[in-house]
Symmetry: C2
Subunit: 258 residues, 2 copies
């Protein structure tokens, strides 16, 4: 029987809040190894860009990663966020090792093809180096991934952290029983965004489709759920969406994709 | 008999020059594995600090790393410089893995004690995790170190890259026959800084002491040489100071510490 593996993705909202991050990392430290942490970037990169006089480019409400924004994202995600998280986990005696997709060729991506829109230096994942992850995990290291990938031709790329978590989960699902945990600010997917107690205990893909049509599920939750169901259909044993509390308390409210 | 291991340290001057960096990385890619690259940071961090309105603090000609400068150093060294180098090495089919001292607890340091001067968040190396390096090297990974360490209590620290290279070289000298290569802009240590051909072919520690008194050797070269002789006295087989040419051409001019 395969070993259990927890893959926890924490959003940029939690990464940029010092107290919230401490709670997440303390809870992550308590989880049994093997485990992998994937973190978003978020507002630090935007704030850094503005400080540097770089205006984040948006087209049709979508963020465009030009060369300047890519540099900012690499400094923010792979630099300060990743290293702060790793140093704090080391304090908790978790032997964390920070990785971008370039490190150890962990995650290879291709620059998103230009169709109606040129997203710039945004990468779509094409390959996860499961041998690298297995090898690091077997020597007791705990990979901590930021949302930067590369194309194996020297180009770094910005990639969605939810997607990175799902792709790693899928790639490792033949070697491990993988639980993928999307950790964000709410206790789960909400029936009513105004009511934090209206948590969906379980969610099927057809329910999701209905809720999207009814505008009950919207915005950033939609790609997260698509990633989650994609993982579930591709060998991942369990996909959970909840907050830090559910990381350490198995009885805490949460949404489980089924 | 122990395996050969090359440890190459490249200075910030080379890291910040796109064409020079490409030459260094192409030469490094040609070296037989196992090998380790250590890189300085340098001017990118200073430029970034100035862009962010942070004035680098100097006391008695020494750089002070306050909290803001540490954040800039982490973004610059562990972020953009390290990841660009790793991505370019991956293009050369070198399976590089970027590390700060926090990653895998690679290099533990202590904040330099405040004596006459408070250097701020500057770390003096106390331990190199040779098990980690050996384990990564044995799985075919090529560690690429930036000049950031940690204190195992959650604090990142700024550490001299020459020292990091020497400390790793010393720590791995019982498992490998280590050659430590300080790669900088000149072909070696010069008798006359105005004459690039006045290279010292070899240099002993007592010659160094004399040349320092005569002001023939000065500035940044002094700590580099101290690190080099320290490595040589502590098990490292060979310490060479030269430029990129000597990395790929064994007959090229260079200074060998003896």
């Amino acid at each position: 029987m395969n070993k259990q593996l927890h893959i926890v993705k924490v959003g940029g909202h939690l990464v940029n809040d010092t107290a919230a991050l401490q709670h997440v990392l303390a809870a992550f430290a308590q989880l049994d190894a093997p485990k992998i942490l994937v973190h978003g970037g978020g507002r630090h990169a935007t704030a850094l860009a503005l400080q540097l006089g770089i205006t984040p480019k948006m087209v049709d409400g979508r963020r465009i990663t030009d060369a300047d924004m890519l540099e900012v994202a690499v400094m923010s995600y792979a630099g300060i966020s990743n290293k702060k998280i790793v140093a704090q986990l080391q304090e908790h005696n978790v032997n964390a090792i920070g990785l971008s997709g370039a490190d150890g060729n962990a995650i290879e991506a291709v620059k998103r093809p230009v169709m109606e829109l040129d997203y710039g230096f945004v990468g779509d994942v094409v390959d996860v180096n499961s041998t690298l992850f297995t090898s690091l995990l077997e020597t007791g290291l705990i990979p901590v991934l930021c949302a930067i990938t590369h194309n194996k031709k020297g180009q770094l790329l910005n990639t969605n952290a939810d997607t990175i978590a799902a792709e790693i989960a899928k790639a490792l699902s033949s070697a491990y029983n993988v639980t993928l945990f999307y950790c964000f600010e709410h206790a789960g997917v909400l029936h009513n965004v105004e009511d934090p107690n209206s948590i969906m205990g379980t969610l099927t893909q057809s329910q999701m489709d209905t809720y999207i049509k009814q505008d009950i599920i919207h915005k950033g939750m939609i790609p997260k759920l698509h990633n989650g169901f994609d993982a579930l259909k591709n060998g991942v044993k369990k996909v959970v969406i909840s907050n830090t509390v559910a990381l350490s308390d198995t009885n805490a409210p949460k949404t489980t994709l089924i």
